[in-house]
């Protein structure tokens, strides 16, 4: 009995050291010969699946550049494993080492920075309003007494709540269970507007039966820095990722990648999102930083 206890204690200690080592991603992937990339099934053009285990998108492609540099640092070819993650499990999976690098659409904020680390901001999301083109709504002030849709489990819900409190515009919130449902609320007339990340709105409109029936209007309700996420306290890997992004930004390749995913026709349907880079995006590429969303609050 006592012997078992000692064994257990030793095993726990060993596990403890193993966890400590796990924070060195470069050593970890070198030893394993593989890297696990966290991807999203449908995060707009940032990360999405073509089916059949294939994942593409703006952030997926940036991650592939980072992994190419990681291979140089590790001195060997790495096998890339894709793991689909969700809003609910992405942070725990990065924390516990299941996922080495998350290439989805994660907002960089202060609460998350306590748990994980972010690379330089590569995409700045603008929260906007989508309406039916014939509704005549052009700004949030016109939403008084209207039904406004957004998606359960997103930061837009909180944003809408704060906005309602701040502006005194009294609208009724309706919540879709996912983005497709929220768009259906708008399409079926249950909602007069859909408030969400601009690229998600653009993607839903582009994929709808009649894209011309909808438009994105009004002021930018919020800006959020979206970045690639990995484990905390791993300065060597963070530097590698940041340097990769800095290199892409300097050579102008980052802007080209952006154009490829946000203004050109993209698979599988070859639809254009038609979202040229915003000023906030260009600014993030010029002045590279990993500031959280709190630093973007209204100046």
């Amino acid at each position: 009995m006592k012997k078992q206890f000692v064994t257990l204690a030793v095993a726990t200690l060993l596990a403890g050291t193993a966890f400590a080592q796990a924070n060195d991603t470069i050593a970890k992937v070198k030893a394993a010969g593989s890297i696990t990339m966290g991807v999203r099934d449908s995060s707009g053009a940032l990360s999405y699946t073509l089916g059949d285990g294939k994942y593409v998108g703006y952030h997926v492609e940036i991650c592939q550049r980072i992994i190419a540099n990681l291979e140089k640092a590790a001195g060997k070819k790495l096998e890339v494993k894709y793991t689909p993650v969700t809003s609910q499990n992405r942070i725990p999976l990065v924390e516990n080492g299941t996922v080495d690098i998350e290439c989805g659409s994660t907002t960089n904020n202060e609460a998350r920075q306590k748990q994980v680390a972010f690379a330089y901001t590569t995409y700045v999301e603008e929260v906007r309003i989508a309406v039916r083109a014939n509704s005549g709504i052009t700004s949030i002030a016109q939403l008084n007494g209207k039904n406004v849709a957004t998606t359960t489990g997103t930061t837009s819900v909180q944003l809408l709540r704060k906005n309602e409190r701040a502006t005194g515009v009294d609208f009724k919130e309706v919540f879709g269970k996912d983005h497709a449902d929220s768009f259906l609320l708008l399409e079926s007339g249950r909602a007069d507007a859909f408030v969400m990340d601009g690229q998600i709105l653009a993607g839903n409109i582009a994929n709808s039966k009649t894209p011309a029936d909808f438009k994105i209007v009004g002021e930018v309700l919020n800006v959020e820095p979206i970045a690639i996420m990995f484990r905390k306290d791993d300065p060597a890997f963070k530097k590698l990722a940041d340097d990769t992004i800095a290199g892409l930004a300097k050579s102008g390749e980052l802007a080209k990648l952006y154009d490829k995913w946000f203004t050109q026709p993209i698979p599988p349907k070859n639809i254009k999102l038609g979202m040229p880079a915003s000023d906030a995006n260009k600014d993030a590429w010029k002045n590279l930083n990993d500031k959280p969303v709190e630093a973007y609050a209204k100046k």
Binding site: S87, P92, T152, G153, T155, V157, F175, G176, S188
Partner: protein, 244 residues
């Protein structure tokens, strides 16, 4: 992993704490489940009775067919799909339904879904009784209504009470689908707050505790009623053995 329960005292941005919001959400869960329970019981019992009517008049034959169709319709479609049918599809066909709030639709959807199961139980409960009971009532000169009221239903309800308890608890847990039509109940609260606060473990633990507490309360109330309406010697408690 350290748990940070203080997250519930934070302001949610709209002037209330996450704790206050959670109790609001709990209220919605209980309202949806409670209203749907009433719908399920009323329509379920009605359908169950219709299915067991004596097939001696043309009207009774058609009523039984209607009740059979009702049960098959509502028990063959997944509950989440039914909610969507009520919320998105029917309003396309009947535009007036667009004005009906999600709460009413989810109560109807959930209530009718459960009613098909209640109807099946009641039918089984009535048919499990010896035929002689019905004949005896008829021999006494009871009308059909009196046969059900004084002979069949009192026994049938006592027989089916335990599965009805499970069904009532299921109804409470199934009310979590209401989040899909924008009711701010506990499941929606959990999904939303874990995203806002990144404290998913605390949020899910708290919500789990509330669901467990509510379902267990339903269980206790039903068990109390079961004990109070026992007829010694007629329907015997499970642990005694024997029969009629």
């Amino acid at each position: 992993m350290t748990l940070d329960w203080q997250v519930f005292l934070q302001d949610d941005g709209g002037g209330r704490t996450y704790l206050e919001w959670m109790f609001d959400a709990w209220g919605w869960t209980l309202s949806v489940a409670g209203s749907a329970w009433v719908v399920a019981m009323v329509s379920g019992c009605l359908m169950g009775i219709l299915r067991t009517l004596p097939q001696d008049t043309r009207l009774n034959v058609w009523l039984a067919r209607f009740a059979n169709a009702w049960v098959e319709l509502f028990r063959n479609i997944p509950v989440l799909v039914q909610i969507f049918l009520w919320y998105f599809v029917l309003p396309k066909v009947f535009p007036a339904m667009q004005q009906v709030p999600g709460f009413v639709l989810v109560v109807l959807g959930l209530g009718f879904f459960t009613s098909s199961r209640v109807a099946e139980m009641l039918r089984a409960g009535i048919q499990a009784m010896p035929r002689g009971q019905r004949y005896a009532a008829m021999a006494m000169g009871f009308t059909t209504w009196q046969t059900y009221r004084y002979v069949l239903l009192p026994i049938a309800f006592r027989t089916i009470w335990p599965p009805l308890t499970s069904e009532s608890m299921n109804l409470l847990k199934n009310s979590s689908v209401a989040f899909a039509v924008s009711i701010a109940e506990l499941t929606m609260y959990a999904m939303q707050v874990q995203e806002e606060t990144s404290r998913g473990i605390e949020v899910y633990l708290a919500v789990t505790a509330l669901y467990t507490l509510s379902a267990f309360a339903v269980n206790r109330v039903m068990a109390f009623v079961e004990r109070r309406m026992q007829i010694p010697g007629l329907v015997v408690a499970g642990n005694v053995g024997g029969g009629h």
